[in-house]
Amino acid sequence: SQEYSPVAAAVGMDENFLSLDDILMSQEKLTSRVETVFPRLGFLEKSSDETDIAVGTKLEMPLWLVKGLHDGKRRIVSVELPKIYREGWRTVFSADPNVVDLQKLGPYYYSLGLQMLHFDSPENLEIAQTLVQTYVGRFRRIMDSSQNAYNEDVSALVEKLDVLERSLFGAGQAGLNGFQCWEKGHAS
């Protein structure tokens, strides 16, 4: 339906409470280290028979849980920076952002990257800069391809795009299709 407009994902470090995309993005798992005992929750750790989750346990926790437990003053959990935001991959992005398959590495490369800035990493500045530069570096191709692919199979064009970029591509296609529709006299 043309009239259905879902609640959009937030831009920046926020999340929109009712956005399906933000909810799915925040389901992404992060490798986390438990810094305090969690009594009575040992059953969540499949490899353990313990009643409690012990200090030092590494768990794959969804972002929403890590954010909820994160406390600047008390260390309850600490989160490992996913490798695509670390220095090695940042170097790859700065060399040529267009070669990277963000669907495979992500698919929420930008939005998850922005969320990682909540965890006060010493690399926050570099992470933020890489996110912006990667977006800028890839934008032109996304815009050009979305404006030149009319009425054809676009799967090859979008297969390496992350979720945000696909939505951008979709917006470009909607504009192109709208213009073509108008030009053919079908818009009235």
Binding site: S1, Q2, E3, Y4, S5, P6, V7, F17, L18, S19, L20, I23, L24, Q27, T36, V37, F38, P39, R40, L41, L44, P62, W64, L65, G68, L69, I76, G185, A187, S188
Partner: protein, 144 residues
């Protein structure tokens, strides 16, 4: 892990092609409520123990469960709200009488919401055009 059923509801909606309304997942929602009830009751017990016995070590676990409760609440609210957006769009696409196949996918409360929405829209449209009324759901494309 907690909140698996809740996220499955969200995925179900995302899988539905743009704007399509899948069947109302009453069973899924009920399961989320049951999980929330269990989490809340466990937390109530631990809060009482923490207060009475000074067990501050239980606070991380209480916080953990509270995060899960908030997550379940969010998923349910987003699931229901997104369905309302789809249902609202149906008024503009199909008019005030929905096809039977679509109505079967709606719960009683959603049908009631739709009826109320139709009334609100009708009241609004009657107020347009200098009081003479204007059906703004017609002629959606501008004149050439």
């Amino acid at each position: 892990m907690f909140c698996e059923k809740a996220i499955e509801l969200i995925r179900e909606l995302k899988r539905a092609a743009d704007g399509q309304l899948p069947a109302f997942n009453e069973d899924g929602i009920r399961q989320v409520f049951e999980e929330m009830k269990a989490l809340y009751e466990q937390n109530q017990m631990d809060v009482n123990v923490a207060k009475s016995d000074g067990r501050s070590d239980l606070i991380p676990t209480i916080k953990f469960r509270h995060c899960c409760l908030l997550r379940n609440q969010r998923c349910i609210a987003a699931y229901l709200y997104d369905r309302l957006l789809r249902i609202r769009a149906l008024r503009w696409e199909y008019g005030s009488v929905l096809p039977t196949a679509i109505r079967f996918h709606m719960c009683a409360e959603e049908l009631e919401w739709f009826n109320q929405y139709k009334k609100s829209l009708a009241t609004y449209m009657r107020s347009l055009g200098g009081g003479g009324g204007l059906d703004i759901t017609q002629d959606m494309k501008p004149p050439k």
